[in-house]
């Protein structure tokens, strides 16, 4: 079988099988069996790969080759050994979990999550591509969030899960930067290739500095360790997995992986003090806990510190010690957490204050706990002793200043470790029972003892089998970590003769043991509450959220005027030079008629600000619109004049309909400061816009488009009104889109107002007195429509050569139909308006696609001359296009009017109203 397939199988087998079990809704027992099978398949595949001679990266698939992202695995002795560790402990934890929870919904979820977590951890361990590694790094964080917070409705568990997620993800961000840095620096994202390179020391230091936050957060080093004890909110089997072999080891594993690449940086040594402080602080806090699960959590912090410290020593032999201790710790800590789960099951409590004498009820669990705790304390001949000896020996060989920190960290931390290990064994299992809970201690199911027993056997066998462990495990794995064969070293053994390390070990064990025995539970140092990491984190989180709320008030205010004003002010500042430039030249004298118009405009606008009535304001604004229309006339834009006039009429009608029944204007007084800011902003922007006109005039470059349009309109498009030709021909696609915008707006209004509940039905059309119709207006309305039709058709027909065209005709027809219906108060007449508008849109689309049928680009128009009765009739398909515009605009405006219309005024509902009364 190929390496690609096997390596991929190692990663995905656990999740695949567990999900299969969950999807097919098998009982928990079957899901567990499948998950265990998946883990064992992974183990076997990894072992098979390890037995093969092949070592190196295997590429499964390119993912984003441009960014050097690929799915590739690193088949190395160390990655395979870690994969076996992860899967073996995974299988044991899954087995224990199923026994621990029994048949329940929670168990099913946790089993699947555990399997997913196992796969993400395997991916992290085996990934060769840096970005793939980062991806799995993040997935472990996300899955652990769900695992830690898996207790439903438990606010504390959710808080702890969030804490863990935020801290570890925050640490992961610089990790991504570190990977990007390494990739851009070396041109490869493959870890295998990178490890063969020599980086300058400065580059090593930069990469390491970016990488350290990830290590410190994920592997819970002081001062970012507080999430780990909090994560004890997870069910005990989950903690057994997360905090022994997997999640918290990720940082340590990363350090081991990059050691050959970055180990030359002087910054590497900073790991020693970090680890030493963590080691001592974790031990100290473990002694202060009465909950044995929290005790184990703090012990994990301490042991992670020990590992970091050892790696920080930065020699090949230190890596050897770290590798051994990493595996030893994973085995005994997983076993201890499972034992804690067993104690919880047997006694119903985890409190040291209540436990005691459990040996009589569960003697086998006692033996397992004693072996595993002995390994943690470093008692010979257990695995923990072997690894701690190695660590001590390496620490003594280090440089002087490192030496002091390292030795004191290890010794102090280890004394604490011995003390809390012995406390765990003695207070829980020996002595007499202190609480009622222990008395009803139950015998444990054998299935709960299986996993801890296997782990205890492993830790027990390591001591006598030291030579075997060295030859088949430690030596090849270390060689694979450091990238070359180890020089000849003393083989791993229980007995090196009497030396300093052994003496220190003896001192540690005896001091630790006796201090705990003599002082007992009275020696319960509590950390100062103010320094509690979880509290500090919560406070920091609250502060962040407060800050965010401040910012969002400023930048995302519920009042649009705040940020609108800010944006306008920014634009004002940015263009001030333009205004100065424009005003430096004295303006030409104003046209007298134009000046009069502007004075009228000024008067109207001042009145707009002064008057109170809404309707008066609307009318004044439309007068301003008429003034602008007059300016268009002076600017030689007759089409705009026509359009503007008609638009003002329509808008006024809309306002008249839309303003009915509104609540009064807000009367809250605006603070003077805000009012002055607004006023000065308005005046500033006004000056700016005015000077912009001068500036634009001054540019005065001849427009080539203009010349082309003027020349091409009569020749190519056979039209003399160039504005209309531009709309229907040159830029017909624009026109098409803009017509659609109008249709959208009209239908939008219909949607907005549809389903309304009219509070009042008292509105009445001033022209229409109920029950007393005047004969004149309805009669006129019968004339208006045909007349308007004629007008619209003539505007449409002559639009190509004279002022007019589709928009103008459409507006005129829309106004006419609305007016006719206002007068007749017959809203039903507008029922088909939406359909007319849609028909117009359809015509536009036809003219878009029609020319495609003739092989011409869309919206190409044809024209020609038809000989009828001896006279030439010019025709052009642009007229068809304009007809579409007419229908769309007229129909759309009428449909919108209908939507705003009060239903009670329709004659048909008058009858209903009468019946109701």
């Amino acid at each position: 079988m190929s390496g690609q397939f096997l390596a991929t199988l190692v990663v995905i087998a656990p999740a695949l099988l567990a999900c299969l079990g969950a999807i097919t809704r098998r009982p928990v027992r079957d899901v567990a069996t499948l998950a265990v099978t998946g883990s064992l398949i992974s183990s076997l595949a990894a072992a098979w790969l390890a037995a093969q001679p092949f070592r190196g990266p295997v590429l499964v698939a390119d993912w984003l080759p441009q960014l050097l992202v690929s799915v590739s695995w690193r088949v190395e002795t160390v990655t395979l050994a870690l994969a076996i560790l992860v899967t073996v402990i995974g299988a044991l934890v899954v087995q224990f979990t199923a026994a621990y929870f029994g048949e329940s919904r929670a168990a099913r979820e946790i089993l699947v999550l555990l399997a997913l977590f196992e796969t993400s951890m395997l991916g992290l361990v085996l990934a060769d591509n840096l970005y793939l590694l980062f991806l799995f790094w993040e997935i472990t964080g996300i899955v652990s969030f769900f695992l830690i917070g898996s207790a439903r409705g438990d606010a504390a568990a959710f808080g702890a899960a969030r804490h863990a997620l935020l801290i570890t993800s925050a640490g992961a961000l610089p990790l991504l930067v570190a990977f990007i840095y390494l990739t851009s620096r070396t041109g490869t994202a493959s870890l295998s290739t990178l490890l063969g390179l020599e980086l300058p020391v400065a580059a090593q230091t930069i990469a390491l500095a970016l990488l350290l936050p990830a290590v410190v957060t994920k592997s819970a080093q002081v001062p970012l360790h507080a999430w780990l004890p909090g994560a004890m909110a997870a069910p005990t089997p989950v903690s057994a997995y997360l905090h022994s072999a997997t999640m918290v080891k990720a940082g340590i594993i990363l350090l081991l992986y990059v050691y050959p690449l970055l180990g030359g940086s002087p910054l590497w040594t900073v790991l020693v003090p970090i680890g030493a402080v963590t080691c001592v602080w974790g031990s100290f806090r473990a002694l202060g806990e009465t909950d044995i699960k929290l005790l184990m959590a703090w012990s994990t912090v301490s042991q992670l510190g020990l590992l970091t410290l050892t790696i920080g020593l930065g020699t090949d032999l230190a890596m050897r010690a770290a590798v051994l201790h990493l595996f030893a710790h994973a085995v005994f800590k997983a076993g201890l957490f499972l034992t804690v789960g067993g104690v919880d099951k047997a006694a119903g409590t985890r409190s040291l204050l209540e436990l005691g004498g459990l040996r009589e009820h569960t003697p086998r669990l006692f033996v397992l706990a004693a072996v595993l705790a002995g390994s943690m304390a470093g008692i010979p001949p257990l695995a923990g002793f072997l690894s701690k000896e190695l660590v001590l020996k390496k620490a003594m060989l280090s440089e002087p200043w490192v030496h002091g920190i390292a030795i004191s960290g290890i010794v102090l931390g280890s004394i604490g470790t011995v003390a809390y290990s012995s406390r765990f064994v003695f207070e829980v299992f020996l002595g007499r029972s202190r609480g009622a809970a222990t008395d009803r201690g139950r015998r444990l199911k054998p299935s709960l003892l299986l996993a801890p027993a296997i782990l205890a056997v492993l830790t027990l066998a390591a001591g006598p089998g030291a030579a075997w462990v060295d030859r088949w495990f430690l030596e090849p794995v270390t060689a694979s970590v450091i990238g070359r064969m180890l020089p000849a070293v003393t083989p791993l053994s229980l007995w090196y003769g009497v030396n300093a390390a052994l003496v220190l070990s003896l001192v540690i064990v005896s001091v630790g043991y006796f201090s705990d025995r003599i002082l007992g539970l009275r020696m319960v140092p509590r950390g100062p509450r103010a320094l509690s990491g979880a509290r500090l984190f919560d406070q920091a989180l609250d502060a962040c959220q407060g800050l965010g709320a401040r910012f969002s008030w400023l930048l995302a205010s519920l009042h649009p005027a705040v940020y609108l004003g800010l944006a306008l002010a920014a634009g004002l500042v940015a263009t001030v030079p333009l205004a100065f430039d424009a005003l430096s030249v004295s303006p030409p004298p104003a046209h007298p008629v134009g000046l009069t118009t502007v004075l009228l405009l000024a008067a109207v606008l001042i009145a707009v600000l002064r008057v109170r009535s809404r309707l008066t304001r609307v009318l004044l604004v439309s007068v301003a619109g008429f003034a602008v229309a007059f300016l268009y006339r002076m600017l030689n834009a007759p089409d705009l004049l026509l359009t503007q006039l008609l638009v003002e009429v329509l808008v006024t009608i809309f306002f008249a309909l839309g303003l009915r029944g509104l609540p009064p204007e807000p009367t809250k007084r605006v603070p003077p400061a805000w009012r002055w800011a607004r006023r000065s902003l308005a005046v500033g922007l006004g000056l700016l816009a005015g000077s912009l006109v001068f500036a634009l005039d001054r540019v005065g470059a001849p427009s080539q488009v203009k010349d082309y349009y003027l020349a091409a309109a009569p020749d190519l498009a056979k039209g003399l009104n160039v504005v209309n030709v531009t709309l229907t021909d040159f830029r017909a696609l624009d026109t098409l889109m803009e017509t659609f915008v109008v249709m959208l707006a009209a239908f939008g209004v219909a949607g907005l107002v549809k389903g309304r509940e009219w509070a009042s039905t008292t509105w009445s059309c001033p022209l229409d007195v109920p029950g007393q119709r005047t004969g004149l207006l309805p009669g006129m309305s019968r004339l208006i429509l045909p007349l308007a039709g004629v007008l619209a058709v003539s505007l449409l027909l002559k639009g190509h050569n004279e002022p007019g065209g589709g928009f103008v005709a459409g507006l005129a027809f829309g106004i006419a139909s609305i007016l006719a219906i206002v007068v007749a108060a017959r809203v039903r007449g507008l029922g088909s308006a939406g359909g007319v508008s849609l028909a117009g849109g359809a015509v536009l689309l036809v003219s878009l696609t029609g020319s495609l049928l003739f092989g011409a680009p869309g919206l190409t128009h044809a024209h020609g001359e038809l000989q009828i009765l001896g006279a030439g009739w010019k025709w052009h398909t642009a007229l068809l296009f304009d007809l579409g515009v007419v229908l769309a605009i007229a129909g759309g405006t009428a449909a919108a009017t209908r939507a705003l219309w009060p239903p009670s005024r329709a004659p048909s509902s008058n009858a209903d109203l009468g019946a109701a009364q």
């Binding site: 519920l558 009042h559 005027a561 609108l564 030409p588 104003a590 046209h591 502007v598 600000l609 002064r610 109170r612 809404r614 304001r617 301003a624 619109g625 602008v628 300016l631 268009y632 600017l635 030689n636 834009a637 089409d639 359009t643 638009v647 309909l657 839309g658 303003l659 029944g661 509104l662 609540p663 204007e665 807000p666 007084r669 605006v670 603070p671 006023r679 308005a682 006004g686 816009a689 006109v693 634009l696 005039d697 005065g700 427009s703 203009k706 003027l710 020349a711 009569p714 003399l720 009104n721 160039v722 709309l727 624009d734 026109t735 209004v749 107002v753 309304r756 509070a759 004279e802 705003l900």
Partner: protein, 129 residues
């Protein structure tokens, strides 16, 4: 003529911004319409004034003809700003009917900076360009 345009644009922008930045949705709509007028005039200004409309007489002479392109663009812009106004009036009607609110800000807004407002006079008092 350019001076007239500049004056008109300046006036329209001053009053438009003043209305737009108020707290009434209705006034904001009016302000937008006025700003649209100003924008249209500005766009026309990019093409220059010219001495005759871009409606040709067939003689082939195009000297002094106003630029048709900005006019065509402004023509559609006028229609679109009408459509926008139409939509905003619909919004105004809907929000007034359903929420009973005429202010731009929702009733639940808690802007710490604007607590010191005393009810009484409308903010429209005394504002002049």
């Amino acid at each position: 003529m350019i001076t007239v345009m500049a004056l008109a644009v300046a006036l329209l922008v001053v009053v438009g911004v003043e209305l737009l930045l108020g707290r009434s949705l209705f006034k904001a709509i009016l302000g937008l319409s006025l700003l649209a007028h100003a924008a249209h005039l500005l766009m026309i200004a990019t093409g220059g004034v010219g001495t005759s409309p871009p409606v040709l007489d067939g003689s082939g002479s195009v000297v002094g003809t106003a630029d048709p392109l900005p006019q065509a663009l402004v023509l559609t812009a006028i229609v679109i700003s009408m459509a926008v106004t139409l939509y905003l009036v619909g919004l105004l009607q809907a929000s007034g009917r359903r929420l009973g609110a005429s202010a731009v800000e929702p009733a639940l807004a808690s802007d710490p900076g604007r607590e010191a407002a005393d009810p009484g006079e409308s903010d429209s008092s005394g504002a002049s360009p």
